[in-house]
């Protein structure tokens, strides 16, 4: 039992040979797993919050108060561009993750910079879209439909903006501290965050834009 068992000393001097401890020992999760799992649970709660915004939007989509409906104001070519930016940025974020795993500076920094540029392009397109809507009198105060629209899509846009700050922080941290275990944990969290935002965008472009134009 010397290999499989672990000896535990008790206060009265007795020693117990506990084979079960082997399983317990191997069951202790690494910090990488604990950190990423905790972040994953946070992301799922974020998704639950987004689902409340989605539910609000779907309920209010016809309450246009004689104002413009989605069909009147949505510009699908901008949405297609935005979608392309986010899909490609998810791919480049994956390349950055692989680069960090392989300790390849070219892949890591290249992937992160491409992700940043695509994400920034997405945010700029969205801002241009929003200011255009407000300029033509279709701002969030126009109708319940537009309030719900700006809340849902704007909340996603805010998340992407926060993600861009997270991204710049990760570039700076790897640059300053190298591919250390704690930095790589944060990088894993960033990748999870970015890919999750992409999933939420799939919901937005389908429910808000495509269904809004198709109805």
């Amino acid at each position: 039992m010397s290999v499989a068992g672990t000896h535990f000393g008790f206060a009265d001097g007795a020693v117990a040979d506990v084979p079960v401890a082997v399983h317990a020992e191997r069951s202790v999760a690494s910090r990488r797993i604990v950190t990423a799992f905790g972040f994953w649970v946070f992301l799922l709660s974020d998704v639950v919050m987004f689902s409340a915004f989605f539910a609000t939007y779907v309920v209010l989509v016809d309450m246009t108060a004689d104002g413009p409906s989605g069909k009147d104001v949505f510009n699908l070519s901008t949405v297609a561009l935005e979608t392309g930016c986010l899909l490609l940025s998810s791919f480049s974020c994956g390349m950055a993750s692989l680069g960090a795993r392989a300790r390849s500076n070219f892949m890591y920094y290249g992937g992160m910079i491409a992700t940043f540029l695509l994400g920034a392009a997405f945010v700029l397109l969205e801002i241009r879209d929003f200011t255009g809507l407000v300029a033509q009198g279709a701002g969030p105060s126009r109708s319940a439909f537009l309030s719900a629209y700006f809340a849902l899509v704007g909340c996603h846009g805010l998340h992407v903006t926060m993600g861009l700050l997270f991204l710049l922080t990760m570039i700076a941290q790897v640059y300053a501290k190298g591919y250390r275990a704690d930095i790589l944990r944060r990088l894993l969290c960033f990748a999870l965050f970015w890919h999750t935002l992409d999933i939420i965008w799939v919901g937005i472009f389908t429910v808000v834009y495509l269904l809004g134009v198709a109805r």
């Binding site: 069951s27 690494s30 990423a36 994953w40 309920v59 692989l98 392989a102 999933i199 799939v202 134009v213």
Partner: protein, 133 residues
């Protein structure tokens, strides 16, 4: 790793969400996974955008088709980008995801269900406005 007495593979520990098994997975294989994911999700997106504008398809089927495509694309993202798969070492991640999906489903479907019934039973907004004058 296997138990000498039984030959049964021992418990190898969990995997973090977003991580792929590092052993035996080359970088090239990782790139291939992301490329497959990108290809599938771009295909789903292109079909969805095409469907939303076409008149070639029976119109009432389009919303259902769009929602099915979105769910398929979300599945592609979860498997190829987030690496949440059905392997036994990923069970905790899948359980958390399942719970999240359940809450999302209850929230969205429940809201739609209740609010359409309320709308159905309510006085039309125009008449309500007239009554207030």
């Amino acid at each position: 790793m296997s138990d000498d007495e039984t030959g049964v593979p021992l418990y190898e520990g969990d995997i973090a969400p977003g991580d792929e098994r590092a052993d035996g997975t080359e970088i090239v294989e990782g790139i291939r996974g992301y490329l497959i994911g990108l290809g599938l999700s771009v295909a789903a997106t292109v079909v969805a955008f095409y469907l939303s504008g076409t008149s070639l398809v029976w119109q009432p089927s389009i919303p259902a088709a769009l929602i099915v495509l979105a769910i398929a694309q979300i599945g592609v993202h979860i498997v190829f980008f987030l690496h949440i798969t059905t392997r036994p070492d990923s069970i905790n991640n899948v359980m958390a995801l399942t719970f999240g999906v359940f809450i999302v489903f209850v929230l969205i479907v429940g809201s739609i269900w209740i609010m359409t019934h309320l709308n159905h039973n309510m006085i039309p907004m125009e008449r309500l406005m007239q009554m207030q004058r």
